[in-house]
């Protein structure tokens, strides 16, 4: 794009939201995955309220993490194949905002819906009531960080066939702090402790991700377009 017209966050954000919306049947997938996999927990462990309640914060977080991971794999694939990525890379303007717009659109259409149906899962797994608000807040912020870090992995594995498992392998270690702070927020609330500090730490991790991930993503995308 040759002018500032399309270089902004909003332009790319709204376009990607529109593109997600045009394939809205695909949007249900992460949500269904979330619900189905959560059902596996009582089936695989034990349907006892006390046990499930102890596991709930972590389990909900882990499954939300996996759902995000599965959905992020093809973030750049379509753009790469139809030549849109090429056009982005020959734009004279900085790519940071377009990339943030794209990942924000992914969060809006995947991460936020996951957050919004988490109360349903919380009910199924007997999450104590004190944990509900921290769960919503930590998932809302956490899935954004997960989308950002996952996008780095997606960009790095873009030219590879069957990059899915590899993507998970690369990104899981990087996800551990997000998971730790996210589920600890919920757990602290359930234990009756102050949880705002942990949530603040999660927010700080998100802020760091917003600042640094786009650089890694752009480097990886330029690399992918050379091959």
């Amino acid at each position: 794009m040759t002018s500032g017209y399309h270089s902004g966050f909003i332009a790319h954000f709204s376009r990607d939201v529109l593109l997600h919306y045009r394939r809205r049947s695909d949007l249900a997938r992460p949500l269904v995955f979330f619900i189905i996999t959560s059902t596996l927990v009582p089936l695989g462990v034990v349907p006892e309220p006390a046990t499930l309640a102890t596991l709930a914060p972590g389990i909900i977080w882990i499954i939300a993490l996996l759902a995000t991971l599965l959905s992020i794999e093809n973030l750049f694939a379509e753009d790469w194949q139809d030549g849109t990525l090429e056009q982005m890379l020959i734009s004279p303007n900085l790519l940071v905002m377009p990339i943030l717009g794209k990942v924000a659109a992914h969060w809006l259409m995947v991460g936020l819906p996951l957050t919004l149906i988490s109360p349903l899962i919380a009910m199924m797994l007997y999450l104590p009531a004190e944990g509900l608000l921290p769960m919503l807040l930590s998932l809302a912020l956490g899935t954004a960080a997960l989308s950002l870090v996952g996008a780095v992995g997606a960009a790095l594995t873009l030219p590879l066939q069957q990059g899915g498992m590899l993507l998970a392998l690369l990104v899981m270690p990087l996800y551990t702090p997000i998971l730790i702070f996210g589920s600890a927020t919920v757990q602290s609330a359930i234990d009756g402790l102050v949880w705002s500090g942990t949530l603040a730490t999660l927010t700080a991790v998100l802020a760091l991700a917003i600042a640094l991930c786009p650089l890694a993503i752009i480097g990886a995308l330029r690399l992918s377009s050379e091959y």
Binding site: P159, P173, L174
Partner: protein
Amino acid sequence: MTSNRKWTWFHRLGSPRWFYHKTSQWLPWLSIVTGALLITGLVWGLAYAPEDARQGNSFRIIYLHVPASVLALAGYYVMAIAGAVGLIWKMKLAYIVMRAAAPLGAALTFIALFTGAVWGKPTWGTYWVWDARITSMLILLFLYLGVLALRNAYNSYEAANKSSAILSLVGTVNIPIIYKSVDWWQTLHQPATIKFTGAPSMHPDMFAPLLVMIVGFYSFYALVLILYSRAEVLQREQKSSWVRELVTDKRDRR
């Protein structure tokens, strides 16, 4: 393709051929120093250092465990910095060093975990415990494996190098965050842990051989890294004249 770069010291540093010949001179004495340090450290630590009050003789595994852990972590930074140099200055040698550092660091991380498990059994009765440091070390192993996996997934040598360099840099930023978060996580769940004997609280008689072992491991790391890099240099430059001369001549040129 010949390069017309000016021979500044920095760019000479990037020449694989220069590296190969320089390190041929260093290797003999580096090997001696490494051997001396490791043997001194091991003998001192395993045989002569006093027994630990609580753990008896089983604590002696730290003379392997701690240096391996230190180098596993330091090695990741070596790999990441080499990758950064390769990305910024497009230096072939930097990528070669990065490629050497990856399996070496992964192996050291594995040794650290294994020795940690060996230590765990007599100390806590289990091979595995979700201690902060061990867990961080496990995640570090996954970071290394990720870099190796990404590198192997690419068919193109250059693409593999660049992508694993980017991933290493991403991991570098994450490592302090991971360590801190795992540390914090662990304090949430186990407020009273048996701490691995931290350096300041260790008796100097126990600490001194540990220090020797740590320095010895650094030396060992440098030695193995250089050996590995040299092998990779020969492989990558196999078509060039100086390598052919070297291989057919059978004498190492000075």
